[in-house]
Amino acid sequence: MFEYADAAVEAAIAAGARYADARVMDRRHESMAARNGEIEGLNQEQSVGIGVRALIGSGWGFASTADLGADAARRAGAEAAAIARASASVPGADLELTPVEVRQDHWANEVVEDPLAVPLAEKGDMLVTVTRTMREHGADTANAGYDIWDTTKWLASSEGHRIDQHIVECGAHMDATANGETETQRRSYPGIRGQYGTRGWELVRELDLPGNAARIAEEARALLTAPECQSHDAIDLIIGSEQMALQIHESVGHAVELDRILGWEAAFAGTSWLDLAQLGSLRFGSNLMNVTADATLPGALGSFGYDDEGTPAHPVDIVKDGMWVGVLSGRDSAALAGIAESGGAVRGDGYNRLPMVRMTNVGLLPGDSSLEDMIAATEDGILVDTNRSWSIDDKRLNFQFGCEIGWEIKNGKRGRMIKNPTYTGIGPRFWQSLDMLGNESEWTFWGTPNCGKGQPGQIGHTGHPSVPCRFRGVRVGVRG
């Protein structure tokens, strides 16, 4: 496949590009869904093609084709350069690229059990079983499903990169919905988006969907008669690790994307409240807050060997002892911001999408407390978990999140289950109220398989290591 990538790069350079790279990608995706004890959908998808990126002046041109062959690749390369040239009609300052070591390499993630080799019947039986179980235990609607992605990609650049990678990702999800007279309540497992990683089917077996189906169905039913989460202007809030993953993703991960900070996403995804002039001197959170972007974590969904610009995966400090110290970047954005090297965070969704800054594994490093410690240390508080809704402003500052389930905490003990918990806050103010952090035994590499960004839209796979946390004085129970 490198021959096609080479042909595309050579054509782009011949057409005037000062830099070009090309990715051939072959991606297979298998998904199955069951509802109420019946299989409702099984889809197997394969997409193969080449995408070429050419830089002329201040702008990228990108062209892709599903036709694999040297001629088609050369056409795509020439078209990418022609598009880049059109970009120059509305110009900015020339884009530069930070230097990166040119490598020829192969990388693949570890897979114990090839998920595509697991018999469809076995996978289907699992989904049928868990949805039947949920129905038998109180769910009016029970859904379950899994997704498998098997991606091989070959990168070549005009600087000499030749890198091929084979990345296998999979995971599963299920949810139970109970209907009341005027409301519905839902419980999901392992989380609202399921759980995904760069692992084989062993991940799905470890999730143990069958062992949790009855519980979540019963919880969904019980939520219908549970008391409503009361409104509090300021109360101690303990957040489980699944919801914390969402909290990190939305209020830290997106905020530290350098393309947003530079204004490149201003009209759509938005900008960031963070100002580069304060990098290294701004307090983001309490001293307990340590966040890294680390694409080297084995099995996490945002892991890889090299990003789509050929930058080797490496850990990047984002927040250290509460201070903002790093960003998610690529070669062009880092150069523009005066940062010495790319953070290796550029990826494209398939062969036909322009690679852009995406989260890798952006997560909290663990502390030395535990969920039980937090409950025991809380006189009057709320415990919430499992994301249900999420909304945050275009600067990634003001958020309001809802969870599927909560519990009152009174005098150090977990009390009544409550429904419809929501909480709201302002990013840095909220993170500075962090005063207890779960330990390494509670550290979970949550995977988000559906992070949307870019125009045309791209879906990113991101990882979020997280632990339970306690925050002080949070506004809870916002009502419509």
Partner: protein, 444 residues
């Protein structure tokens, strides 16, 4: 490549005679020119090609998709689907294939848009940037031309095509953003200079905004905001799947909306984009969802139609079997008031340009939280008093349009592309609503 219908026929020939099969082939080109901080920074073009096959063997259903059209690839596509189907349990909800039926004669197509080159998009971007009169700008201009062919083993054969073009941008003062957007089947309809000038005006008029105490306010919502509201009603309410599962607020025959609300899904509307049939090969019907405030219809795919004893209305979406049916061409009837007249009728309220990051808290009552964006102004006694900073709201979208809640409907019906969750394009006017529940300032 071969003509899309030829590919459909080749795939059907490869499927065993005993299997039910449907094939959908989508081909075309999509291109998008993106600008930020005043220059084009991303500029992309993609040749679209997808072959989707669904088979049912004795009620055992499987799907497969490829973007390759060689004989080997198509053979593999068919084998994958048939092999997978053989391993599945029978699907009792399988509704069978769409019967032979003609699709409505819609042809939302423009050759110049389908063949637009990067310079045509860049020209509009340049005009937008220049019209912003020195303000920083960001946004995109896109063009798309798609051909869809559908064939099934029950004899249904349909082809359709559609083009679309969008221009969407903001101008920025440093303390405020102002937006403008336009969409059409024809790129030639998009005026970059006019859009840039409007974004420039809004940004400057929104500058140096001051905070406003949260609470319940009258609102005048732009068509962009109205699209956002209708998207939620479509997904959580008028989707027959939501009704089947007991999750929908809809009660057919009841006056659940203000009498000024009449809402339909109509791909044949002159301002609409899209093709005349759905992912299952069912012709799209015009469906009246709300008639003078009375909830009057739902959209169905074949599965929900079977489950509820109805007929499919032609609103199946690709890959959406588990999600249900969605109206992709909503049309909200316009009124007689200009946007200025809507503002003039406000006693004390807010004029809102855009909503942002709206997410549902309660799917039954469609309580949604989100924020304002790209310009909000306080209106008192019919006059714009001052810009205000962005606000967070938590509001039932059903209640917002309920009986007595709509105080005015604009005459400014416009096509808004890329509805909130990326499906379809809606034709909607501005609305003046009696109350909207703002629950906090964006700064906390």
């Amino acid at each position: 490549m071969s003509a899309p219908m030829d590919v459909c026929e080749r795939v059907l020939e490869l499927v065993d005679a005993g299997a039910e099969a449907e094939v959908r082939v989508t081909t075309g080109a999509e291109a998008l020119t993106r600008f930020a901080t005043g220059f084009i920074h991303q500029n992309v073009a993609d040749e679209v090609r997808q072959v989707h096959l669904r088979v049912a063997v004795d009620g055992r259903v499987a799907e497969a998709t490829t973007n390759q059209v060689g004989s080997d690839a198509l053979g593999q596509l068919v084998r994958s689907a048939l092999d997978a189907a053989a391993l599945q349990p029978p699907d009792p909800g399988w509704p069978g294939l769409a019967p032979i039926a003609e699709a409505p004669a819609v042809d939302h197509w423009d050759d110049a848009t389908a063949n637009a080159d990067p310079s045509a998009r860049a020209e509009r971007v340049g005009a937008f940037v220049n019209a912003a009169d020195g303000l920083e700008t960001a946004g995109f201009c896109s063009t798309e031309g798609m051909h869809v062919a559908f064939a099934n083993s029950a004899g249904q054969r349909l082809t359709g095509r559609t083009t679309s073009a969008q221009l969407d941008g903001i101008a920025r003062t440093g303390t405020s953003d102002g937006s403008e957007r336009a969409a059409s089947v024809r790129l030639a309809d998009l005026d970059g200079a006019a859009a840039g000038a409007e974004a420039n005006r809004r940004a400057r008029e929104a500058a140096d905004a001051a905070d406003l105490e949260p609470g319940s306010y009258e609102v005048v919502l732009s068509p962009s905001c109205v699209v956002n509201v209708l998207s939620f009603l479509a997904i959580y309410g008028f989707n027959a799947r939501a009704v089947e599962e007991g999750r929908s607020f809809t009660r057919i025959g009841e006056a659940q909306f203000d009498e000024s609300v009449s809402l339909a899904d109509d791909v044949a509307h002159p301002l609409a984009a899209g093709i005349g049939f759905d992912a299952e090969g069912t012709p799209k019907r015009r469906v009246e969802l709300v008639n003078d405030g009375v909830t009057s219809g739902l959209v169905h795919d074949r599965r929900t139609a079977k489950a509820l004893g109805a007929e499919s209305t032609g609103h199946a979406v690709p890959g959406g079997g588990a999600f249900g049916a969605l109206p992709a061409n909503l049309v909200l009837d316009g009124g007689t008031a200009t946007p200025d007249e809507l503002v003039a009728s406000v006693r004390r309220g807010l004029l809102v340009t855009d909503f942002w990051y709206t997410r549902v808290l309660d799917p039954r009552t469609i309580v949604v939280t989100g924020l304002t964006r790209n310009g909000v102004w306080l209106v008192e006694d019919g006059r714009i008093v001052r810009p205000v900073t962005n606000l967070r709201f938590t509001q039932s979208f059903v209640d917002a349009l309920g009986p007595g809640a709509v105080k005015g409907v604009g005459a400014d019906q416009a096509l808004i592309g890329g509805a909130t969750f990326g499906f379809g394009s809606y034709v909607v006017p501005s609305l003046h609503l009696a109350a909207w529940n703002f629950t906090g300032g964006a700064k906390g």
